[in-house]
């Protein structure tokens, strides 16, 4: 019994020493990890606005950082919806190693086209978006750590403050006064199309190229091959960004 008790005491002391050593060295090692730089770059391609985040990480500690995952989510605050999510995985950053994690966050308008309410908000309203950035990892094989941060910023709409004035009718032509400002970094082409009550096209306008930051205010003429004014119709605005086309109803005519 005495030997068993002594052995148990030795085992308990050894386990306490192991726990204390692991914990103290892990805390000390964790203080040696440094984020040497965070480089954020914005970009705009076709229908996509994105941010590229490059995080340079130096692991000066004694233990490896494993299962490093950088995740980001973008939420629309006006209609609480997740509009973008992306994830970057880095298998391991060993002790004494330096690693650059490149994480790309894309906000593609074409991917959101299925939700008309969301696309309408993003195209026509300068609205607040919330970005949640999460970095998670396993440290020293036993500690799971997660770092969260979030930032709210104002989204610049491609057709911010869109206004359709009173439509006037001429011989075979309707004139639509339209004004908006392109507050987005996107370059696009747009045109108007008039559809009848059944959705058949009655006529289209010319195409207009809208560079970023431009104010557009003009009467747009649509040549119509049918009775004017039509008994019932819908005015559709088509936006072409690269190869992506987005169509939104901007006005209704008749009942």
């Amino acid at each position: 019994m005495k030997t068993a008790l002594r052995a148990l005491s030795v085992a308990i002391t050894a386990l306490w020493l192991f726990i204390a050593t692991t914990t103290v060295s892990a805390i000390y090692s964790a203080t040696m990890i440094s984020i040497e730089g965070v480089d954020v770059k914005g970009y705009a391609e076709e229908d996509t606005v994105g941010i590229m985040v490059n995080i340079t990480l130096y692991n000066g500690g004694f233990y490896a950082i494993t299962d490093l995952v950088v995740g980001s989510e973008v939420f629309l605050l006006l209609k609480p919806t997740r509009i973008s999510a992306s994830r970057t995985e880095v298998p391991s950053v060993g002790p004494g190693e330096r690693s650059t994690v490149s994480h790309r966050m894309d906000l593609s308008l074409s991917e959101l086209a299925s939700d008309e309410e969301v696309i309408r908000i993003l195209v026509m309203n300068d609205t607040f978006l919330n970005l949640t950035l999460t970095i998670s990892c396993t440290y020293a094989a036993i500690f799971l750590a997660r770092l969260d941060t979030n930032i709210t910023w104002l989204w610049g709409a491609p057709m911010s403050g869109l206004r359709v004035g009173s439509i006037s009718w001429g011989a075979g032509v309707i004139s639509v006064p339209l004004s908006f400002r392109n507050n987005s970094p996107l370059n696009y082409t747009f045109w108007l199309e008039l559809l009848d009550g059944s959705g058949s096209p009655l006529g289209s306008s010319d195409r207009f190229v809208i560079p970023p930051g431009t104010v557009f205010s003009q009467d747009i003429d649509i040549t119509v091959g049918g009775p004017i004014p039509p008994a019932e119709g819908r005015l559709i605005c088509h936006m072409l960004m690269g190869t992506t086309e987005i169509s939104l109803e901007v006005a209704r005519i008749g009942s």
């Binding site: 308990i12 386990l15 726990i19 750590a145």
Partner: protein, 159 residues
């Protein structure tokens, strides 16, 4: 046992209790506080802990450890020594669960160099907490075994 022997035994226990108390005061209270202060000089000083404050936790830990160490030394060679020993291990189990937020610690960091946004750090200490609880339970088992052993020895001596 004569009065002189009894007095000697009591003095011996009191001296042992004082030595243990003073040693533990430095080991469990003063040294951790110095280490914490040096950590607080860096970024840790601006961190806000979601759970209990680390300074308060060190104080509570020191109170528990010193109280039980002194009590164990004062009741040395009696069954109460083992009762206090089991009590210490059980108290420490609950203390560790409470101080580690049940295994998940949340820390608010106001920002780091090159990244000015406020950050929230969540550390899952579940594995460490499990290890600590297992070792404490081993300690409880050892104390019970010691109590049984000393009682059986006393019974043997009596017969």
């Amino acid at each position: 046992m004569g009065a002189r022997e009894l007095a000697k035994k009591i003095v011996d226990r009191v001296i042992r209790a004082i030595i243990h108390g003073v040693l533990l005061y430095f080991l469990v209270y003063r040294i951790p506080l110095i280490l914490l202060s040096s950590l607080e000089e860096g970024i840790a000083g601006e961190m806000a802990f979601g759970g209990p404050d680390p300074r308060t936790m060190i104080t509570y830990m020191a109170i528990i450890v010193i109280f039980y160490a002194v009590a164990i030394q004062l009741t040395r060679d009696t069954v109460l020594e083992h009762v206090f020993s089991v009590g210490k291990d059980l108290t420490l189990i609950f203390f560790f669960i409470y101080s580690m937020g049940g295994g998940v610690m949340e820390i608010d960091i106001p920002g780091i160099t090159g990244f000015p946004l406020p950050l929230k750090l969540t550390v899952d200490l579940g594995f460490l907490l499990t290890m600590i609880i297992c070792v404490e339970l081993l300690g409880v088992g050892r104390s019970i075994m010691r109590a049984i052993y000393s009682l059986s020895e006393e019974a043997e001596e009596a017969t």
